[in-house]
């Protein structure tokens, strides 16, 4: 199974390693043609404004929308979650806008407020997920088709809508590969 990792800016290397560890073939995506034969795409953490501008400028925005509409699964972490969202509070920055959610950027605060915490995710079993939040966003509002997998207080931090998955934190910075395995199962139609 071939899964792309959007490699315009950010922590794309760590996602590639994680996917390879889970047995998938991982390739870096920088040009529209790189998307052609992918079963899934990961949009990594990074700076959402930087990645968004490069998506527009290098012709990837529409192509990703097309491929996602045709069934390609997409998983966004942190900046990737922001880019997947339809609404971004107080911002008109470029985005894919595929997911029926409203996100707030830097929602927990600046870097000094960044944190890690254990997160209960029933979908992944009893063992909590060690979640690393870095200037992280959260989902404020989710549409009826969005399934909430985990929250910190009232703030949604893992969500799924059909072939789209988003996390506000960075599983690629830990050794826990359950979220990447879940994404692979989504692609296989087993989750």
């Amino acid at each position: 199974m071939k899964i792309g990792v959007l490699a315009l800016q950010g922590a794309f290397r760590e996602h590639r390693w994680m996917l390879e560890r889970c047995g998938a073939e991982a390739v870096e995506v920088r040009k529209p043609e790189d998307l052609d034969d992918l079963a899934g795409l990961v949009i990594p953490g990074g700076e959402s404004t930087t990645i968004g501008k490069l998506l527009v400028e290098w012709g990837l925005m529409d192509k990703i929308r097309e491929r996602a509409a045709a069934g390609m699964a997409v998983y966004g972490t942190c900046a990737g979650m922001i880019l997947l969202a339809r609404e971004i509070v107080g911002s008109d920055q470029p985005r894919l806008g595929l997911m029926d959610v409203t996100v707030r950027r830097n929602a927990f605060g600046r870097q000094r407020e960044s944190f890690e915490a254990d997160l209960n995710v029933p979908e992944f079993g009893a063992e909590p997920v060690r979640a690393v939040f870095i200037r992280a966003p959260f989902i404020e509002l989710a549409g009826p088709d969005v399934k909430v997998l985990a929250a910190v207080g009232d703030h949604i931090v893992i969500a799924r809508q059909g072939n789209l998955l988003a996390t506000a934190f960075h599983p690629e910075l830990t050794d826990d590969d359950r979220i990447h395995r879940y994404f692979i199962k989504m692609i296989q139609g087993k989750a």
Partner: protein, 293 residues
């Protein structure tokens, strides 16, 4: 819930990879940088070329400057403290700066010791000319490293020298038998655990950016191809004739550093680069890269 862990501190640097961090001195410049696709900005009172020209003692920027820049953009904002000046660092931490550069661009406040960076919630980036210096800084708690280069010169030669040195020392280390590692660590004056970790990883334990003399898209791509994880551009943008266009081109060149056709396209028509300085014309005691211990 834990804040300020090393993973959280080094994690922000991981997110900056493949991006360009630009020196800015006003909110207007910060907006131009953000609009051009910068992944972060460095808030300063003066860019290194002007610090060099002004001479005298260079200190942390006025907090008002840092604060106004933080209010102007949504991307991370970094700021510089003097080497060893842990009070300047505490002030920047209190302001909410996202990263502190304990920087040789400013006049050192301590001629023997760097800041104990483990002691802070805010992460630090430090400059290094070689592997020993990089690992000493990481040992003190730096969560990100950059080459020193020679700031404010628009001359990439020193940054190239520094990344080549670090990469070649890592290659050498990887080929050493275990019994030679302790002597290697002693020779480069680096903490032995970090030397072992570097040997195992085949790279520095934290992200390593290029800095000090990058002036063109080609310079940025060169540093990326030599093994840097991302780019700092100091004077190179706002000392050039068309900052917005040059900033945007350097962002694209950093992403597409392995694609000569893209590099050719984005290098076109950018106007004048910043005026450059030949390193041999700078007296050894005026070279910023010699600061730091």
């Amino acid at each position: 819930m834990e804040q300020g862990t090393f993973r959280v501190k080094a994690g922000l640097a991981e997110m900056l990879k493949g991006g360009v961090i630009m020196d800015v001195t006003t909110p207007e410049q910060a907006k131009i940088a953000e609009q051009a696709g910068a992944c972060a900005v460095m808030a300063l009172e003066r860019v290194p070329a002007d610090i060099r020209a002004a001479g005298g003692v260079a200190r942390m920027a006025d907090p008002t400057i840092v604060q106004r820049i933080m209010e102007a953009v949504t991307i991370p904002v970094m700021a510089k403290a003097r080497i060893g000046h842990f009070v300047e660092a505490r002030i920047l931490e209190a302001l909410g700066a996202d990263y502190i550069d304990e920087s040789e661009v400013l006049t050192p406040a301590d001629d023997k010791f760097h800041i104990n960076k483990h002691d802070f919630k805010v992460p630090f980036v430090c400059g290094a000319k070689n592997l020993g210096e990089a690992l000493r800084r990481i040992g003190e708690g730096a969560a990100m490293i950059r080459t020193k280069g020679e700031p404010g010169t628009g001359n990439v030669v020193e940054a190239v020298k520094h990344i080549r040195m670090v990469m070649s020392e890592i290659r050498l280390l990887q080929n050493l038998p275990e019994e030679e590692v302790a002597a290697f660590a002693k020779n480069i004056a680096a903490p032995i655990e970090l030397v072992h970790e570097t040997k195992k990883l085949g790279r520095l334990p934290v992200v390593n950016f290029a800095a000090g003399g990058i002036a063109t898209p080609a310079d940025a791509a060169l540093m990326m191809q030599l093994g840097c994880d991302g780019i700092f551009v100091g004077s190179g943008i706002f000392k050039s004739s068309d900052p917005a266009a040059r900033a945007k081109a350097i962002v694209a060149a950093t992403t597409y550093h392995n694609d000569p056709k893209v590099l050719a396209e984005v290098s076109r028509g950018l106007g004048e680069a910043m005026p450059g300085l030949e390193i041999s014309t700078i007296a050894p005691h005026e070279r910023m890269q010699e600061r730091g211990w």
